[in-house]
Each structure stands twice: as structure tokens, then as C-alpha cells.
């Protein structure tokens, strides 16, 4: 997710605003400390115009 965000020139706070989550939550997702819920994962994927499995990897 970090790569997609940085490619779009977005800060964590800006992405957090767009997804209606806090900046710290964006950071926690990017660092792998927090796995987003399915609805949030779908929202993230839709925001970047891609699919969930292309943003998040199980391994």
C-alpha cells in the first residue's frame, strides 16, 4: 500500500482523510502491524483503482 500511496504523491494523513481513518492507522497498515477489515481493504483497493489481492499479500 505504501508504494501505491507514494506513487500517487500522497501523505499518510491525506490517504487517511480519503479513507476516513487516522494517519496512524494508515501507518499501522503499511508497516504490517494492523490487518484492515475486509470493507476497509476493499475501500483501499477501490481508492487506488486496483484489486484487494494486488494491494495485500498473505505472505
Amino acid at each position: 500500500m505504501r508504494e501505491l500511496r507514494q506513487a500517487g504523491g500522497l501523505s499518510q494523513a491525506a490517504l487517511g482523510d480519503a479513507l476516513a481513518v487516522s494517519r496512524q492507522t494508515v501507518n499501522a497498515i503499511e508497516t504490517g502491524k494492523y490487518d484492515p477489515s475486509l470493507p476497509l481493504a476493499i475501500r483501499i483497493a477501490r481508492y487506488f483503482g486496483t484489486r484487494v489481492e494486488e494491494v495485500f499479500h498473505v505472505d
Binding site: A13, D17, S22, Q24, T25, P36
Partner: protein, 132 residues
């Protein structure tokens, strides 16, 4: 602008702190115990001020102040509540056993509170299982 806090939620807990502080002050006035009254008010005001001043800089302080509960923070709050509950149940069970062994006059209240904790645990287990 980051949506770390919303105006309404940012002031809710500090306002509650002020309310509790005033309750302490009233109890202190009624009991003529100004250490309780003024001390209680001062502690609650200091806690409320801490939430307002550092709530935007520190996530944990912000969460204590009920700021912007997104899904991760709600999950963290659930874990915090569960951990607090585990500690309280542990204290009640240990206290109940110790007061029972030592024939303490507090054995009755401890046993009652432990029974209440057990009944609550069972009740909420059933409630949450039924809700899925």
C-alpha cells in the same frame, strides 16, 4: 488537514472530567473534606487538560480522549477493555480466595463481586455467541 480528531469528540471526555471534578468538589464540600474536594477537582482538571493538550500529538492520549474512533482504534479499545476486564476478574478471584482463607470480613463482598463477574462473563458469552 488530518482527521485525527473531531471537535465534538475532542471535548467530550474533558467535559466529563470537569463534571466528575465538580462532583468531587460537591462531595468534599458536603463532607467538609477539602482534600477530597479540591484534590479530586484538581486531578480531574489536570487529566482533562492532558487530553486536550497532548491528544493530537500522541495516539494513546488521543484515544483516552475518545478522538476519531476508526476501525483500528475501536479494535484497540475492545482489546483494552478486555485486558482491563481480565485483570479485574483476576483480582476478584484472588481477593475472594485470600479473604476466604484468612476469614476476612471482606470475604462476603469479594464473593459477591466474583459471582457477579462470573455471571456477567457467562451472560456476555451467550449474548455474543447468539449475535454471531
Amino acid at each position: 488537514m488530518s482527521t485525527d480528531t473531531t471537535t465534538g469528540s475532542r471535548w467530550r471526555v474533558p467535559a466529563l472530567c470537569l463534571g466528575f471534578g465538580l462532583v468531587y468538589l460537591m462531595i468534599g464540600a458536603v463532607k467538609q473534606d477539602w482534600t477530597l474536594g479540591i484534590g479530586g477537582l484538581a486531578i480531574m482538571l489536570a487529566y482533562g487538560a492532558l487530553l486536550v493538550i497532548f491528544g493530537r500529538r500522541n495516539e494513546a492520549v488521543g484515544m483516552l480522549g475518545d478522538s476519531f474512533p476508526d476501525e483500528r482504534r475501536r479494535e484497540l479499545q475492545r482489546r483494552t477493555a478486555a485486558s482491563t476486564g481480565y485483570v479485574l476478574v483476576l483480582v476478584l478471584v484472588a481477593g475472594s480466595l485470600i479473604t476466604m482463607v484468612t476469614d476476612s470480613p471482606d470475604a462476603g463482598p469479594f464473593a459477591g463481586l466474583t459471582a457477579l463477574a462470573g455471571a456477567t462473563w457467562i451472560g456476555f458469552t451467550i449474548w455474543h455467541v447468539r449475535r454471531g
